[in-house]
Symmetry: C2
Subunit: 443 residues, 2 copies
Amino acid sequence: MALASSSRKVVDCVVSQARRSIARSGCRCRVVSSTHVPPSQYTAAVMAAFSSSARHEGPAVSSPPQSLLKPMDVPKKLLMGPGPSNCPPRVLAAGALPMIGHLHPEFLKIMDEVKEGIQYAFQTKNEWTFAISGTGHAAMEASVANILEPGDVALVCQNGIWGQRLADMVDRNGSTAAVIQCPMGEVFSLEQIEKGLQEHKPAMVFITYGESSGGTAQPLEGLGELCHKYNALLLVDSVAILGGYPLYMDAWDIDILYAGSQKVLCSPPGTSPISFSQRARDKIASRKTRVRSFYFDAKELANYWGCDEHPRRYHHTAQVSTVFALREGLARLAEETLEKSWKDHRECAELLYEGLEKLGLEPWVKNKDIRNPCVTAIRIPEGVDWKSVVDYAMQNYKIEIAGGLGDLGGKVWRIGILGYNCTPENVKLTLKVFGEGLANARK
Amino acid sequence: MALASSSRKVVDCVVSQARRSIARSGCRCRVVSSTHVPPSQYTAAVMAAFSSSARHEGPAVSSPPQSLLKPMDVPKKLLMGPGPSNCPPRVLAAGALPMIGHLHPEFLKIMDEVKEGIQYAFQTKNEWTFAISGTGHAAMEASVANILEPGDVALVCQNGIWGQRLADMVDRNGSTAAVIQCPMGEVFSLEQIEKGLQEHKPAMVFITYGESSGGTAQPLEGLGELCHKYNALLLVDSVAILGGYPLYMDAWDIDILYAGSQKVLCSPPGTSPISFSQRARDKIASRKTRVRSFYFDAKELANYWGCDEHPRRYHHTAQVSTVFALREGLARLAEETLEKSWKDHRECAELLYEGLEKLGLEPWVKNKDIRNPCVTAIRIPEGVDWKSVVDYAMQNYKIEIAGGLGDLGGKVWRIGILGYNCTPENVKLTLKVFGEGLANARK
């Protein structure tokens, strides 16, 4: 009797606490039923209702797959495509450090270092700066989910696949995408964007800084100011350019900026740096509807990453090993410095352009000033079987040269010069192999 | 002139292709403007509108953070909490294999092996079986986002934190969560669930198989059949139990099942196995609204993982290194076999229960038949400072013993016996340290 009574107290306590937790979270779920039989009776009832035979004499277990009983085959390649790039040994070694708990103080310290590293790479002092636990598309989706409410309009500048993907996410979010386009390989003018701002009164403008499908680097100066003049936030995708070309989040008035780990940061794909300006945070704070995603909720993530004044709450289990690796990729950039990294990428890109010219090839982007030095799209000459060049490089040298993406599929090759792979030696080797492959394709 | 004319052709082509791409995707975005000036003029206009000074003489670059210029400090610990668990050397080594492209044939083969490994671990033949690129919460959100439409009701069985989180996600998704509760440490009866099914006519029922906050193992037999009788799908969370206790997705008529990588599979957190039955796929196919998440869209993910008859499309960049590691965790399970793994976890749990009894402690879950052998919640005796026991183990032995989560915070400790850590030696050592910590706390 004493047990039943004390247990009953626990039951009541648990139910009321659960109700409080739900109320706290802003969730409007109804608690429609709770148990009122004392637990001791309750368990007996459960066990009677469920047959427990399967626990001990369940169905026959199917056999383990044969494919898993053999070792993995992972060849070493030189990844000169648009990413992932090769990871330096120190980054791979960091990812193989012993596992620790995602709330242990040693891990929280590493999260803090990652935040500082992202602030440096982004050139921002934003408090809400952290890494999303997912690849670049996850950061893209997180931007949309946090900033836009149903009914909000986003002006999407589309000159490649990323604008298409973002417009798709806006639509899924119940918001409206007003798409303005320019051809892949070209960039937007302030005038064209201003026209869009005037016509569509968007809550947010999306633009891709480094287009990996079209190969452009979009000029960004003055754009943040322009967006703010029309009460719009500026969201910038820097996945395929961060660290390889000048980027100043604060000085350029960017409100939401995200990147990927597997390009110039040369860490494994899986974590995506992101940062929110105070303007972006104000928009989030003024939402009338809940952010549709729990996993991508920036306010919760900012708390989990220690970006606010409250104690860190458990939001999800951080990707411990991938965060270790990202930390080391950021440390590499910090040691090298942004200025040197920008310079190296520009010089290697110049070397590539010269070499391509000697091979009779030309970048898809005519104007050198708007080329993304990190990913070069190369026009496929008429009559050349692009695939045979790609296959030649892979089969003979294990070098990755990529084909086109989206609407440039079959029209361009793409060569990436990213982070650890950004050396004159790699560019020269790639050009040599490219030339051989081209000669072979023309035979 | 010849150039302008051919470029103009490209412009028109690109714009119309982009429109087709958008139409194909089902996205309702409006293309509201596109460029009609010839690219050669266009670029000049852009460059005039944007000042390019920042490229070469931009703002001063802030200094790299000092914290990143020192090496990382990651101690070796024995993780006897509810996860992540320690990764075996072979898993860590797999995660440090050279990077390869996420669409290279060698990686696609490894994805196929991961699918087979998950099918084995889940005991399912479902074609739509793959890993979400995110931690357990991501798979939870993916389940909600794909199955439920606005207006749909989910019956959420809540006996711990996971039911709370799931209900929150349902609410964010614009659907309705009807929550039925039983106390943490207890499990649901078929009768209680049937009452919920009758009253709320849900499209889906959610239940946690292995509760890591309450320490229960929910009997599941007959539940799938019951749900189907009422036209509801059954969604089961097996994060904290998969591989450590019998589970038969097909034989038990489970429609959506997900798990995590960082528990019994002893791989780093970051990928989450998930599987959808034909019934679940039918529900997805009959949706009237788009899945709100692009990143978690099961149909797109199934294609990317090669689970349908179409060629694989690029959806997102898979977490290459984390997938390598998951593959090796699954290979370890395949070599060991499920039967042995279930037996080992049961035996180690028994050893733990005996040891706790000798220390005068008792599991929160009274009935041994409904205890999750992988995570044991232990009632904190009155007058004992739980935190000092946890600190003692960490400070003196670098052993993790966890506190309570959610409404059992301050009421229980939690000990995890997961995968690579599931050995009698680890259990005995943990008990020894636990006993010392307890004596120390009572001093």
